[in-house]
């Protein structure tokens, strides 16, 4: 697997990878802070748990959005300069996957604005 292909796969799956990282962080941090009673730390009027979730969500959203834009741009380029069928396929899949990931990542941020931190 060449480096170009590796990069391509990362671009195609990037949104879901961003979700996986976001998920690991928000679940891990919530469990640790609540489990150890460290959740009372407040910053800017928000609890540490909420802040972590919001930051992780925004970062993951930004990452997925950037990947989506890159995929879209590459797709447009390929329309002008036909690439191999595999390349086109990976790119178009990337557009779909990164687009769907945006929604999924956003959903994982919603609890932060509804629920209390550790109840």
């Amino acid at each position: 697997m060449t480096g170009r292909r590796t990069a391509q796969v990362c671009l195609t799956l990037g949104g879901l990878i961003a979700w996986a990282i976001q998920f690991t962080i928000i679940y891990g941090v919530t469990s640790t802070l609540c489990g150890r009673g460290w959740a009372d730390t407040a910053l800017l009027g928000m609890g540490a748990v909420q802040i972590t979730i919001l930051l992780a969500t925004l970062t993951a959203l930004a990452a997925a959005a950037i990947l989506l834009i890159v995929s879209l741009r590459q797709e447009r380029q390929q329309r002008d300069h036909p690439a191999s069928a595999t390349d086109t396929f990976l790119n178009e899949s990337g557009v779909l996957i990164n687009g769907l990931s945006l929604v999924v990542i956003l959903w994982h941020g919603v609890p932060a604005v509804i629920l209390p931190a550790c109840a």
């Binding site: 697997m1 292909r5 799956l13 879901l16 979700w19 996986a20 998920f23 928000i26 679940y27 919530t30 469990s31 640790t32 609540c34 489990g35 150890r36 748990v49 979730i53 191999s84 069928a85 595999t86 086109t88 396929f89 990976l90 178009e92 899949s93 779909l96 996957i97 769907l100 929604v103 999924v104 959903w107 994982h108 919603v110 609890p111 932060a112 509804i114 629920l115 209390p116 931190a117 550790c118 109840a119």
Partner: protein, 855 residues
């Protein structure tokens, strides 16, 4: 993407075909000879995917029937309140075995078995890349599974539920061997599943028809690829879980005992991190089958191929974010639960995509209402309902009511029977013509479908209500007057309707299924994919080159040209069994893989592996260890015949393509398998580190517990030096073993030997340091966790040492040089992994408690 009503014809010039006619005399005979199946008693040494695949499917189906019978007994017991048809003791074994057998001995093996049969055919590969590994996986499962099931006849079956929650399953509350049967029996069936998954990943990525690039891969192959990756990620969690629980039971290491710092919830995390993806692990292959059947039945290409592939991949990812939804009632913070609610709702989207893709495909073609079609329509009906109740239980507050009630029994049977059993029946009716001289009966098939479809709904639809009006799961009886009587009676009647449907199916199989390796019933459905090409033991006569996803529709002369030997590799280049290895993305020919034929080694290795685990269960430790050694011996005997080296110069496979018959490095198929194995090992280790951190989290102020001293810095530092040193020696040996001149320097075995000493020393020093510091594995969960990390590391070191010895033996036998070095490469990769894991373990054991300062 509007599909044409009829397959468009694809014009192709005669001259473009890679191999000219007539084919040389004796070419076809040589091919047939190489792939001849063994006869007589040695028949069981066959490794052909078509043979092993069928035995595998047949055995899985046997377990379906057996576990189904257990369910019927339970339904009789529950038909009326306060019934005493079976005792509580037997009932608890029945429901445990029903779940365990259906999940571990039927569902996963069945989909894996089907792919052993179908995958190579669908990709026009001659066989899977490691045929003996599939044979091994099958025999281990066959022997182990039957013995495991046999425990029900002697009252020794596990009775703690298929989820085996401690402390109920720990020594204190389950002192008998019943629980050990589950832990050891299931433990090695998981290993068999992982062996299959490695095979499938390499098979999908490396052995395809020429030109079958990723965008032309059959959806089924995609599904199996995602399936196998999910096994590789998910199964290690349960393997580790069973290891920890068995260590607790055998040696009293308190991972799950609350009084000594353990936590029962750790098991639930490990179990469900495997257990939820497991549901999708058996569902995805089934959707892959449906995505093959629907286009054939509607005679039109699948609508939304890319969206379906997206759905498969997204399901694979998201399904790992669901596990806590089985733990909604465990009292975790609501915030934590909500993430799993979100992921559980999200995973509904990909399922929706697939359902609408099939509807769109049906609408764009002309659906013939054959038996496979009926099962697909039944699947869509049942699965949609199960999926919708799935979204309901994804909402934690609703689940607080529904959890562990009959509502969940209804939900899970809708998704599993709808999502897996119906597609499997569709698949059997659809693909039997490939494997049999005759197709199954359409008339009987309608009866099978009708009885099963009605039966499933009659059985499980009422259970939604039964659950919401308060009936909990896993009860051997229930009181009179709760309003559950009539509903339960209806469910029992439905269960017998399903059984009647299965009985008609068995009759149909007995009447019409006649095994065929050459003269099968043929392309009776006018399907478009490669498994419908004319077949023999050697699979297809030549390896086709494809230009679309439905080659048989788009290249009308394909079957004849393939059969005439006009495509690639129409004979055998080395005189033995071969497969064509292609590049993972674009499927360009890379090399000819020499694959092993029939042999007793995998059968014997499997029997001894099974014996090792089963005898260990009944505490015949000595005999068990002998069997373990024999199993390792058989594996080494089997491996000895592999890594043949470049037995001949590069060969012409047609069309001017000349490729080698032996390669090493990242292009090699076993390199890929080794990488996958390292991922599996890495996941086991990751789960162990997670367990360590989890136990830290539940033990505030006791990490390490009072009175426990950490070993001095000097010891882990020394271990680190030795680990790194052994890796450097191996790297040096690899460097010396380069060049086209087939050199084989004497320093190589010496370096390997020295590296073995360093490796053994590194782990021994760490073990000794903990022991000297007075750490006890059974006093507190801290010690248990530390010794678990050490034990895992020592297991890997021992394995690496065996590989080192084996590599030295290859050198001594003159079977290792700078060209023929696959054996060395595999050992090297594993060596690096072991060193890496050792270093990470040291960092964790010695670094983490210092970092947190005992907090």
């Amino acid at each position: 993407m509007n599909a044409p009503e009829l397959p468009k014809s694809f014009e192709r010039q005669e001259a473009e075909l890679p191999n000219p006619l007539p084919r040389p005399e004796g070419e076809f005979e040589a091919l047939k000879k190489a792939w001849k199946a063994p006869r007589g008693l040695s028949f069981i040494t066959a490794v052909n995917n078509t043979y092993v695949g069928l035995w595998y499917v047949g055995t899985a189906f046997l377990f379906f029937i057996l576990a189904g019978i257990l369910a019927l007994i339970m339904r009789v017991q529950l038909a009326a309140p306060e019934s005493d048809f079976v005792s509580h003791d037997l009932y608890n074994q029945l429901f445990t075995m029903h779940g365990t057998v259906m999940m571990f001995l039927f569902a996963v093996p069945a989909v894996e078995a089907a792919s052993v049969y179908l995958l190579p055919n669908m990709q026009a590969a001659r066989d899977l890349p490691f045929p003996r590994l599939s044979a091994y996986a099958f025999w281990a499962y066959f022997v182990g599974g039957l013995v495991f099931f046999g425990t029900i006849f002697v009252g020794l079956s596990p009775d703690g539920g298929w989820f085996m929650y401690p402390p109920l399953t720990s020594t204190k509350y389950s002192p008998a061997e019943n629980a050990d049967w589950w832990l050891l029996g299931i433990g090695f069936i998981e290993i068999s599943a992982i062996a299959g998954a490695i095979e499938i990943i390499v098979g999908v990525m490396k052995t395809r028809a020429v030109g079958m690039s990723l965008d032309k891969l059959p959806v089924y192959s995609w599904a199996m690829l995602v399936f196998a990756v999910m096994i590789v990620i998910g199964f290690p969690a349960i393997i580790l879980g069973t290891l920890l629980l068995e260590m607790e039971r055998a040696f009293d290491w308190p991972f799950f005992i609350a009084e000594r710092g353990g936590d029962p919830l750790l098991w639930q995390h490990l179990f469900w991190f495997f257990g939820h993806p497991e549901v999708y692990i058996i569902f995805l292959p089934a959707t892959g089958m449906v995505s093959m059947i629907v286009p054939a039945m509607a005679q039109t290409p699948l609508v939304g191929y890319r969206l379906v592939v997206l759905a498969l991949i997204a399901t694979g990812f998201l399904s790992f974010g669901l596990w806590v939804h089985h733990m909604f009632a465990t009292g975790l913070p609501k915030m934590s639960l909500s993430f799993f609610s979100a992921a559980s709702t999200a995973v509904a989207v990909p399922s929706g995509i697939q359902v609408f893709a099939w509807i769109a495909t049906i609408a764009s073609g002309r659906m013939r209402l054959t038996t496979p079609s009926l099962f697909v329509i039944g699947f869509l009906f049942i699965f949609t309902l199960g999926g919708l109740t799935g979204v309901m239980v994804a909402m934690a507050p609703f689940d607080w009511q529904a959890h562990d009630s009959y509502f969940v029994v209804a939900h899970l049977h809708y998704v599993l029977i709808g999502g897996m059993v119906f597609p499997l029946f569709a698949a059997i009716y659809y693909w039997v013509p490939v494997a049999s001289k005759r197709a199954l009966s359409e008339r009987l098939g309608r009866w099978v479908f009708g009885l099963m479809f009605l039966g499933v709904n009659v059985t499980f639809l009422p259970m939604h209500i039964t659950g919401l009006i308060g009936m909990p799961r896993r009860v051997y009886t229930y009181p009179v007057g709760m309003g559950w009587d009539a509903l339960n009676l209806v469910s029992t009647i439905g269960a017998f309707m399903i059984a009647a449907g299965v009985a008609v199916f068995l009759f149909d199989m007995a009447r019409n299924f006649r095994f065929a390796s050459e003269d099968n019933a043929g392309n009776v459905w006018n399907a478009g994919t490669l498994e419908w090409l004319p077949n023999g033991n050697y699979a297809t006569r030549s390896i086709p080159s494809v230009v679309s996803r439905d080659p048989l529709w788009d290249q009308p002369n394909l079957p004849k040209d393939v059969e005439d030997g006009r495509y690639y590799l129409p004979g055998t280049a080395t005189g033995g069994r071969e497969a064509l290895v292609t590049s993972p993305f674009d499927a360009r020919p890379q090399y000819i893989l020499q694959i092993p034929g029939p042999g007793w080694q995998p059968v014997l290795a499997a029997v001894f592996t099974a014996a090792f685990f089963l005898l260990l269960t009944v505490k015949f430790v000595f005999t068990s260890i002998i069997c373990g050694v024999l199993a390792v011996g058989c594996v080494i005997w089997w491996l000895w015949e592999t890594d043949p080296g470049p037995v001949r110069p590069p060969a012409d496979i047609g069309g001017g393509i000349v490729i080698p018959v032996y390669v090493t490095g990242p292009m090699n198929h076993s390199w890929w398998a080794m990488i996958v194995l390292m991922v599996v090992s890495g996941m086991v280790f990751t789960c162990l580190i997670f367990s360590y951190l989890f136990l830290w989290l539940v033990n505030p102020g006791a990490w390490p517990p009072r009175g426990v001293e950490l070993p001095q810095w000097i010891w882990p530092s020394l271990s680190t030096v030795l680990y790194v040193g052994s890796a450097i020696l191996i790297a040096r040996a690899s460097w010396l073993l380069k060049g086209d001149d087939r050199r084989s320097p004497r320093s190589v075995p010496i370096l390997i030997g020295a590296a073995m000493l360093l490796l053994a020393g590194a782990s021994a020093i760490d073990l000794r340091a903990q022991w000297q510091a007075g750490l006890s594995p059974s006093a507190h969960a801290y010690g248990a966790a530390v010794y678990a990390i050490l034990s895992l590391q020592i297991f890997f070191v021992l394995t690496t040492l065996i590989m080192g010895l084996y590599t030295i033996a290859r050198w001594l036998a003159g079977k290792l040089d700078s060209v023929r070095r696959t054996t060395f490469d595999n050992s090297m990769l594993f060596w690096y992994y072991t060193v890496g894991q050792g270093l990470a373990g040291l960092l964790m054991i010695h670094g983490f408690p210092r970092l947190t300062g005992g907090a």
